[in-house]
Symmetry: C2
Subunit: 192 residues, 2 copies
Amino acid sequence: MADPLRDDPAVNLPATAYAVLGLLSFGNEVSGYDLRKWAMNMRYFYWSPAQSQIYAELRRLLDKGLVAERTEEQRGRPAKRLYTITEAGQATFQTWLNHAEVGPPQLKHSVALRLFFGHQTNPDRLREVLRNHVAWAREQLAELAELRTRLESDLPYPAMVAKWGESYFSAEVAAAEYAIKTLDQTADSATF
Amino acid sequence: MADPLRDDPAVNLPATAYAVLGLLSFGNEVSGYDLRKWAMNMRYFYWSPAQSQIYAELRRLLDKGLVAERTEEQRGRPAKRLYTITEAGQATFQTWLNHAEVGPPQLKHSVALRLFFGHQTNPDRLREVLRNHVAWAREQLAELAELRTRLESDLPYPAMVAKWGESYFSAEVAAAEYAIKTLDQTADSATF
DNA sequence: ACTGCCATGTAACTAGTTACATGATTGG
DNA sequence: CCAATCATGTAACTAGTTACATGGCAGT
């Protein structure tokens, strides 16, 4: 078979598992709760899994010996479970990074989907949707720029990804604005 | 509740169902097989569901009376099932288009994910991944440009989305190339 | 002769979501 | 005093995937 990794049960984990493993690969001992917040920093280019999913992945990784768990009792709240990556976990993660096939990015663009089916609605609704999208993309852009400056000193690779994200959201703004303009023009020509 | 549509069982369908309904809203009578090919044209901005999923959605939509089925017997192969959208289907689809909340686009960018965890691999591997991504994005760009010229006469909205896609892939090329450059520079500075 | 297209379908599985439950602590 | 944060967990569900099965027909 073209991809032997796919059949290796030690390596063939879901994407979320690798994301979790990757976050742990920075070397910190973190809880599921911490991880969820970390994962939120990745939402710009990788959707954030549900909280319950993160806990589920941690259990799976623990099962496979890719992470180690240490429990810390607390008063008045559930015991904190702190995770660190194991040697095996590091190895698995690196194997994946270095050798696993890299699929194309997957996009589920609900705004573009609406535009695609524009013939079933009216230009005003489309403009509204597009304007909202522009506003949202600008927000993301600002957040990312801020995030990047914080990352730049310590975390060069995440900073590079933040930069990438800025490029992406700029393109979103431009594309949506262009679509609005096109919409306006066709409306104009219709009045003649 | 803020979103009454969410609780309306006639309207709260999965995204794939709306995509299928939307494709049918162009008015053609098509088979599941045809639909799959149509859906592939949307892959640039909306991931293509598995074939089995499309058939499943069609059954669901039939159940709800949003599409009508006509069977055409064939020799030597399974009977062809042809679907058309019903009045109820049109209404449901338009309600969704006009009133359902539009979520943010969801991205699962496996290339950016690799770059994010760059500290666990080596620049050469990253460069390889990035170069592949650039090549792939250029291909998509060419395909989309070609697709758009075909759409422009008859299908203005899909053509607009194709244009959007071109903007997206251009940004991908630029971002990935910029990342490569950054990688090169840090490598240079490391030799000092 | 072989590849790819046509055309559907099912079974088994996995990934992922939503919603709920608990309850102290901290900050405005 | 209220909201947000900390911190986990479970149950029920849905969406979606992979892999397989069938088999004729058209084109190179």
